[in-house]
Every structure is written in C-alpha cells, then in structure tokens.
C-alpha cells in the first residue's frame, strides 16, 4: 500500500455516504404486506452489509499502513501537477454539461476539446512549448472534430442535439 491515508479517507467517505443512505432508507414509505418484504428492506440490508465490509477493509488498510510506515514512498514530483490537471479536467466536464444545452453542441464541444488539450499541454513541462501556431492548429482541430461529430449524429443517426439557434449552429 503506497498511500494508506488517502485510501483510508476514501473508505471513510464511502462509509459516510452509505450511512447517509441507511438513514434515508428509514423514511422510505410502504409496508410489507402478506409476509413480504417492505420497499426499505433491501436498501437497509445492503447498507448494513456494506458498512461491515468497508470497516473490515478499512481496518486492514490501517494495519498495513502502520506496519509499512517506513516503506511509504516519497510522492513523485509530478503528483501535484497531476492532481491539478485531474481537477481541471473534471471541472471542465461539469462546465461542459452545464453549458451544453444553452450554448449548443458545436460551440461547447469545440471549447471543451480546446481547453482540455491546452490544459494538458500547459501543465506538462515535458511537452513542447506552447506556441501561437500550436494554439491555432488546436483550435482548428477542435472546431473540425466538433462539427464532424455533430454532422455524424444529427444527419447520420437522426439524433437531435442542442443548438444555439443561430445559423443552425
């Protein structure tokens, strides 16, 4: 186990979430009629079992973490950057989902591709230097890809995609 603390944290977050589900399942209405199970039976049973298993797994993580303390590896230099990149990509995706319907498919998709790839390029020191020429090339690629997908889905598969309502875009 390289990083027992984040792993233990993940266990605790899961246990918290499951605990919340367990609490909520007490407010599920509907009773058990005729020797049958109530609608809340399964959620409650699953939550209880899940908490036991997660606790079991958590204990093992903690024990291993304590016994292997010296073995813990120093974090790689790139760790911080990769976390930032991860968060930026996720934020971009959420923003994308949020803007997809108001701004239309082609525009938002082109923006997503452009922003995501440039994030990766800018954050990566090993990558070639960001240049204006590169940016223009990327912009062209983003727009073309987005257009191509739009045409494939709307014309090829007859699937209605959101548009901005201006000039069919």
């Amino acid at each position: 186990m390289q990083r027992p603390i984040p792993e233990a944290t993940f266990h605790i977050v899961l246990i918290g979430l499951v605990g919340y589900f367990l609490m909520e399942s007490f407010s599920i209405r509907g009773s058990a009629a005729g020797g049958n199970l109530s609608p809340a039976f399964f959620p409650k049973a699953i939550c209880a079992l899940l908490i036991i298993l997660l606790l079991l797994s958590l204990v093992r993580v903690v024990i291993e973490g304590i016994s292997n303390k010296e073995l813990e590896q120093p974090r790689e230099v790139s760790f911080g950057i990769s976390v930032i990149a991860w968060l930026v990509v996720l934020a971009l995706l959420i923003l994308y989902a949020f803007l997809l319907e108001p701004l239309g498919y082609i525009l938002t998709t082109a923006l997503l591709i452009f922003c995501m790839v440039s994030t990766l390029v800018l954050l990566n020191k090993q990558d070639q230097k960001a240049s204006l020429k590169g940016a223009i090339g990327l912009a062209g690629f983003s727009i073309l890809t987005s257009l191509a997908i739009f045409i494939l889905f709307s014309k090829g598969f007859s699937i209605i995609l959101p548009t901005l309502g201006i000039a069919g875009v």
Binding site: N36, V83, I149
Partner: protein, 495 residues
C-alpha cells in the same frame, strides 16, 4: 424442405445481401460508439425497411443487431469503453492485452470468438428454438431470483480483493435500489427527481464507471510517464487469430451454450451471460491466475458468449412473441410492421419467411466477421492518435453517447459522478465490474424475490422446492466455495 429452398431464394438476391451488409456496417459503427445501443441502431433503420420485402427488411435489422454487439467489443478492447453492457466482461482481459502492445491480437481473438459464438447461436436458433422456448417458460419468479443469485456469485470471481470486490458489488446493488420500488411504487432515494423515478439508467453508469474513470486515470498517468505521448506504442499485427481461438474450442463451446440459453430467457439480464461465461472459463482454466491481466481465454469466453446471446434472444421473440430486451423489442416492432406476427403460427404458416430469417441471421454473422476482418487495421489506427487529443475525444463521445440515449442532460451529470466514483474504486482496488453486475442483477434479484413471495403468499420454501431454482442456488453455493478456494490457492487476500 421446400420452405428452406424458397427461403434460400429469398435471401440470396443482390439487394437483400446488400441490405444485410449495410445494416451490419451501421450496427458495427454505432455499437463501437459508447452509448449508442443496438436498440437505437435498429430503431434508426426501421422506417427504411417499410418498403422492403419482409426477409430483406428483417435481414437488415438482424445485421444491425449482430453488428452492434460485435462493434461494442472494439471500443472495449482498444479504449476500455464497453460499447454495450454485454462487452463489460471483454474489457477485463482485452484491454490489458491491448495496453501491453498486443491490441491486434486482442481484436483478432475477439473477432473470431464473436463469429463462432454467433454461428453457434444461429445453428441452435434454426434447429432447437421451440424446445428452448419451452424451457424458458419454466422460469418463474423463484427461478429468476435464483439465477440472479448465481450471477452475483461471479463477483467473488472477478474481484482481486474479496472484501473490496464484494463491497463494490454491494455499492452496485444499493444504487440499483434508487427509483420507484418495483412492487409498491414507493420512491426510494429519488429526492423528487423525475429522472430517478425509473432508477439509475445503466448506460451512464456503465460509461462513467469504465470510460470516464479510465480517462481520469489517464490524465494522472499523463504526467507520470517519461515520454508524454505514448502514441508510438508498438502495435502488433492486426489479423484474426483463428488457430489461437480454435485451440480453446471448449471455452468457445461452453460460452456459446451459456450465451444462447441466457439470451433465450426473457428478462434474465442478458448482459450477464458474458460474465457467467467468463467466470466459467476461469474455473475450467488451467491458468486461472492469468485472468484479468490480458488472458486470451477471458476474451474468448466473453466474446463468444455475447454474440451467441443475439441468437438466443431471438428464440423467445420468434417462437413466443416475447421480446427479452430492448433491442429485440424494436426488432419485433419491425417484424410486425412488415406484417409478420411472431409466435408459434409463424413457423406453421410462414415457413419460407421464418427460414429466410434464420438464413439471413447466418449471413449477417458472416458479414460481421468479414467487416471486422477488413476493418481491424483501421480500428487500430485509433491508438496512433496523440494521447492528449484522444482523451478529449473519448470524453466528447461519452457525453454525446449518453446524451443521445434519451436527450436527458441529467444522465450526463450522472455519468460524471460515476466517472469519479469509478476512478477511486479502481485506484483503491475495488474494481468497477462488480458495480455493474450489482446494477444489472440488483433489480432482477429484488423484484423477483418479492414477486415470488407475493405469489407464494409469503412462503419462503418456494426457492428450494422448485427444481430449477434449487439447482441454481446449489450450484451458486458450490461456485462460491470454489472461487474462495481458487482465490486462496492463488493468494488473493480476503480482507
């Protein structure tokens, strides 16, 4: 016999063959894209078939169905995106194999295994359809429940760490309870959200857990690798691997049998067939420890099973008029629009047409294999796209795929949430395949358990007094014990 000769004449005409080929090609393309299902592909072509003669129209739709299932394995292999729920098991071994620089071999194996599975089910369909349908009718609620328990036992087999794997399976089961209660309709964990009333849609969960989580992991990886662009990973020769697959003929055969039978039981959650076969191949294998790390037997099991599923699912639809899942339901709509009413009378009154459908199904499988054979070199080019561009494009396809299912933006958010969940589940060794199993089997297990109790008036003995139900439960127990033993032998830790 005359019917068969007439049927051959109906199928082997230039236009009919062309229609089948076109359907297969469209199916392959749509199946390979995440989110676009076989049902959507068939629905798209449906209006086109109106003016066609019955065998031509139905043949085209059958081609689409075969193609869509086979296409799913391409994206599963190359990108870890199961194009359809039935290709989840394929990702377990095909993706690791492709990542180790053997993408061509993985695809080559998948193509041959799919083809053999498809042909096997076509033979069974044309020879044994009525008795198998008769068998499927013996499945009542207790049997469905026992079957789903049997399926859930597989979680033990696909987990690397038992406690974590089981926890992941339970997470799937818990999420499966979201939505209206199946028996009384009480809302559970829906928080007044209309989209959640019918439960968590399987596709956003699937694409989130597999594709989005994979891209998120790749983003982290991208900064770790020495050379940032891994686009120059060596790629091996891309061609079908006939000999390698035929060497494992036992796996092909048993997986095809499982796929056909599970497919023939309407509403049994057909996509579990590939897991059942995978599990079974692992148990029979001399080298079970290699499974999950890029083992050919795993790909063969999953692929031959999910293509034999197609033929299997046609059995109840054609003989009983009961479609087992969405794709066959649209197909049945297509048949009815053609003036063909599925059911037992179809065999007695419209012999030439039903045999024509069987032959068209054979032909569709052959086209499916040929297209993949020629396409394989093209598919593999995907891996040469620079990684940073590929990651962005995969995400774009995931979003549009999920959005296209039902034009509901809520599902896109759901997919992102599953992506984050899947990322951490993979990172800490829980795995995502058990979550999918839980999500698929949870509703089947719960509703059938309660349905069985409702019909029996609260009598729990129904599960052990009915022979089919009892045997599934016993075998499930035995399999569980065997999995535990096999894990212990190969030092898979429990907690």
């Amino acid at each position: 016999m005359n019917d068969y000769i007439d049927a051959l004449g109906l199928v082997f005409q230039g236009y009919v063959l062309l229609a089948i080929a076109g359907g297969t090609l469209l199916g392959l393309i749509m199946g390979a894209l995440p989110g676009l299902t076989a049902a959507m592909a068939i629905a798209l072509l449906l209006p086109l078939t109106f003016g066609m003669p019955p065998v031509m129209g139905v043949g085209m739709l059958l081609g689409t169905l075969c193609g869509a299932i086979a296409g799913g394995s391409v994206s599963a292999t190359l990108l870890n995106i199961p194009g359809t729920p039935s290709s989840v098991a394929t990702t377990l071994d095909a993706f690791p194999m492709a990542r180790s620089g053997q993408a061509g071999r993985a695809l080559g194996i998948a193509i041959v295994a799919s083809f053999l599975g498809g042909i096997f089910s076509a033979v069974v369909l044309s020879v044994l359809a009525p008795p198998i349908a008769e068998f499927a009718l013996r499945f009542g609620a207790p049997e469905y429940f026992a079957l789903s328990v049997f399926g859930l036992v597989i979680i033990a087999s696909v987990s690397k760490n038992l406690a974590k794997g089981l926890a992941a399976g339970l997470i799937g089961l818990l999420l499966a309870t979201v939505g209206s209660d199946p028996m009384l309709g009480s809302p559970r964990f829906t928080y007044g959200n209309m989209s959640l009333l019918t439960g968590i849609n399987l596709l956003p969960a699937l694409i989130g857990l597999f594709a989005v989580s994979q891209v998120l992991a790749d983003v982290v990886d991208y900064f770790k690798t020495e050379k940032a662009d891994a686009s120059n990973t060596p790629i091996d020769k891309a061609s079908p691997r006939w000999i390698e697959v035929l060497k494992h003929w036992k796996v092909v055969l048993s997986s095809s049998v499982i796929g056909t039978i599970v497919g023939a039981i309407p509403g049994a959650g057909g996509s579990i067939a590939s897991f059942l076969s995978y599990d079974q191949a692992k148990k029979m294998s001399k080298t079970p420890e290699k499974f999950g790390k890029g083992h050919s037997e795993g790909i063969i099991a999953s692929e031959s099973s999910n293509n034999s599923l197609v033929g299997g699912s046609l059995i109840p639809m054609l003989t009983l008029g009961v479609p087992g899942e969405a794709a066959t339901a649209v197909l049945m709509g297509g048949l009815m629009i053609q003036g063909i009413r599925p059911g037992p009378t179809l065999f007695t009154e419209q012999g030439a047409i039903i045999y024509g459908i069987f032959i068209a199904f054979f032909v569709a499988n052959i086209f499916m294999m040929l297209f993949q054979w020629f396409g394989i070199r093209l598919f593999i080019k995907i891996l040469q796209i620079p990684r940073k561009l590929l990651m962005a494009m995969i995400l774009v396809f995931c979003v549009i795929g999920v959005y296209a299912v039902d034009s509901n933006i809520f599902n896109v958010y759901l997919m992102l949430a599953f992506g984050v969940l899947g990322f951490f589940l993979n990172k800490y060794g829980f795995g995502t395949a058990p979550v999918i199993l839980g999500l698929i089997l949870g509703p089947i297990a719960e509703s059938n358990l309660r349905r069985a109790l409702m019909v029996s008036g609260g009598d729990w003995t129904v599960f052990v007094t009915r022979p089919i139900s009892l045997s599934f439960l016993v075998v499930a127990l035995l399999f569980l014990a065997f999995s535990l033993w096999q894990n212990a032998k190969h030092k898979t830790s429990f907690a």
